[in-house]
Amino acid sequence: MTSRKSALVLGGSSDIGRATARAFAKAGYDIGLAGRDVAALEPDAADLRARYNVEVGLHKFDVLDTASFEGFVSGLPAMPDVVISIVGLLGVQQEAESDLAHATMIMRSNYEGPSLILGLFAEKFLARGSGSIVGVSSVAGDRGRASNYVYGSAKAGFSAFLSGLRARASSSGVHVVTVKPGFVRTKMTEGMKLIGPLTVEAPVVGDAILSAVERKTDIVYVSGKWRLVMLIIKTLPEAVFKKLRF
């Protein structure tokens, strides 16, 4: 054991997960990477050790297997200082409109699983009186849009969960961060038409999460432009908004 701080990344094999792990490791945190396929996380663990000379632990975690959550949390060798949920599933909107199984998976991956697991960590952190809880939600949760409302509604639920948790934890020493990345060039968005000036690279998100934890920011729009874009989208009257197909 070291006396260094530690950060646990749920969804460690995603591009944002890898970038976030690097940002925290560079800042001197020991890292836990959690994902479905532990063997697939090995190269990333080796990368973090070689680059930053930190300790890296790997943990099996499946966001859909909620029954395993309590065992997962109690099975960790030590409670981390920071827990970051990056798990999520964009899915395919058109498919989710008629395929209940697909819609359920999107909802569970983006809302149920991330909320329940961070809720469990919140209990531990509140009992300890310290720690940071980070949920990567989405600007898509700010208002349901025709093109991605199944995903967006799940993210909206997750954002609301984080908002409530933050209020409950205020003045407890536990800090809750909601991250709304906007467009990020990753595996998840590959092939999508992204709007250049509104798109960032994964390392920018990783750095923004580290900075939010260290400065105790509540809500992070990774690109400030998105705060403006979503403000406009949120304030459009429903009569106008419903005509938009984007």
């Binding site: 560079k26 190269p43 990333d44 080796a46 990368d47 070689a50 680059r51 930053y52 000379n53 595996k187 590959e190």
Partner: protein
């Protein structure tokens, strides 16, 4: 299909771009006419697949690092910028860096890039111990000076044509600081510039910036930048041993109208630059490695300054013997023409390491030209001077040289072709550059 171009944004051509996420997926993605692409900083058509282009920058993991020896194993998509930012603060830098840090390790090997220290320390490939290569035939082999050495020396400087570079073992340079002790020497003409470079053979880093806008008596007027790694004792007591790495602060947000760079604006810029540099001449001072090695990296997307039609960089090397008259001739033609811009760089090179590596003992001159008018004919004339002097052009910068120029400049080509054929008998690995200069038609 996607429109793809190199850093010079000329030519722009169709290629099918894939970004596989595992080495297995790389293998599955290879079709006849495939080339690997790093960060797209080759200027012309070197990293554009004849049919398919495989983007490698997602392979950005470090496998292992030994701080006792500086030996590192990494995936080929790691950028030098990443290596510098990650290992610089731990006291290690790449031995060789080109003029931009935004190149991948795989690309740096494929072009066997050189830096300001080539005259004394050689090129990027010299510090590479071994390479994991996926050949066109579908084998994945480790190549080094000891094992598959033909393939190793063909891969260093081989423009990706021996196969896809997956992983690399190499050495990093131990340094005490991330600062450079710089000395600027001003030279009033080409003779003075060449004498100054000659006299500074012992300097670890040396490069001359030439003002191409002046002719006659002033032809070749230059500032020579010499550099050594600063040690801790060179720094003020409270200075950080490693400077903060900055992301580009400025950016060129749009394609500037191509008339932005004209004879008047270039003359004015160069005059100012020369005078500011000349004022600093003589003294020693300590500068951060970032502006010393990568002056243009501080302006994101600077290639857009040349307008939508793109630009050409012409970089030749002329053997030492007779270099003076050929370089004088080229510079005079360029000054007469009047549209070469900021980047006229003169530097001494040593022996190359790879079979097709660009460097040979002599002087290299790099010039930028916007794509317009009769520029292609003009560069063909320059090429004739280069070939007549026994020189050649840098493939990483090239978008337009003829086969005759290429074949005359690279006498080891037939040896390279034989090794390539053995690794890839069906000709699977092909780029737009190889179609233009290498492949049987």
């Amino acid at each position: 299909m996607t429109l793809v171009s190199g850093w010079g944004r000329f030519p722009v051509v169709d290629s099918d771009v894939l970004r596989p996420r595992s080495f297995e997926a790389v293998g599955e993605a290879v079709v006849t006419g495939t080339i690997a692409r790093g960060n797209g900083r080759a200027y012309g058509d070197a990293a554009i697949g004849a049919v398919r282009t495989i983007g490698m920058t997602g392979f950005d993991r470090v496998r292992s690092f030994d701080p006792a020896t500086g030996r590192i194993r990494l995936e080929a998509g790691v950028l030098l910028a990443d290596l510098i930012d990650t290992f610089g603060p731990r006291g290690f830098l790449p031995f060789v860096v080109p003029g931009t840090r935004f190149v991948s390790v795989g690309g740096a090997i494929a072009a066997d890039v050189h830096g300001k220290n080539h005259h004394c320390e050689g090129g990027f490939g010299r510090y590479v111990d071994s390479i994991l290569l996926r050949t066109g035939q579908g084998e994945t082999i480790e190549v080094s000076r000891e094992e598959n050495s033909d393939a190793f020396f063909a891969t260093v400087g081989g423009m990706g044509l021996t196969g896809i570079i997956l992983e690399v073992s190499m050495r990093l340079r131990p340094v005490q600081t991330g600062w450079i002790r710089e000395r600027v020497v001003s030279a009033s003409d080409l003779d003075a510039a060449m004498r100054a470079l000659e006299a500074s053979d012992a300097a670890t880093y040396s490069v001359a910036w030439i003002d191409c806008a002046v002719r006659g008596r002033d032809l070749g007027r230059s500032l020579i930048y010499l550099g050594e790694h600063a040690v801790k004792g060179d720094l003020a007591d409270d200075a950080a041993a490693f400077p903060a790495g900055k992301n580009p602060g400025l950016a060129v947000p749009i394609d500037l109208p191509s008339m932005t760079l004209n004879r008047t604006s270039i003359r004015a810029f160069n005059e100012l630059y020369y005078r500011m540099g000349a004022r600093r001449a003589g003294g020693n001072h300590v500068v951060s490695l970032y502006p010393y090695f990568f002056p243009l990296d501080s302006i994101a997307d600077w290639n857009r300054i040349y307008g939508r039609r793109g630009f050409l960089q012409h970089q030749c090397v002329i053997p030492e013997n007779g270099a003076r008259s050929v370089l004088g001739d080229i510079l005079d033609r360029v000054a007469t023409r009047g549209d070469a811009s900021f980047l006229a760089v003169l530097k001494k090179l040593g022996q190359g390491d790879g079979i097709l590596s660009f460097p040979l003992p002599g002087y290299t001159l790099a010039l930028d030209f916007p794509v317009r008018g009769d520029i292609l004919n003009f560069l063909d004339e320059i090429d004739r001077l280069v070939v007549a002097a026994g020189g050649r052009l840098y493939l990483a910068k090239d978008a337009r040289q003829s086969r005759a120029t290429f074949e005359a400049g690279y006498p080891a080509l037939s040896r390279f072709n034989a090794i390539r054929k053995a690794l890839d008998p069906n000709g699977t690995i092909r780029s737009k550059l190889s179609q233009r200069l290498f492949d049987e038609v």
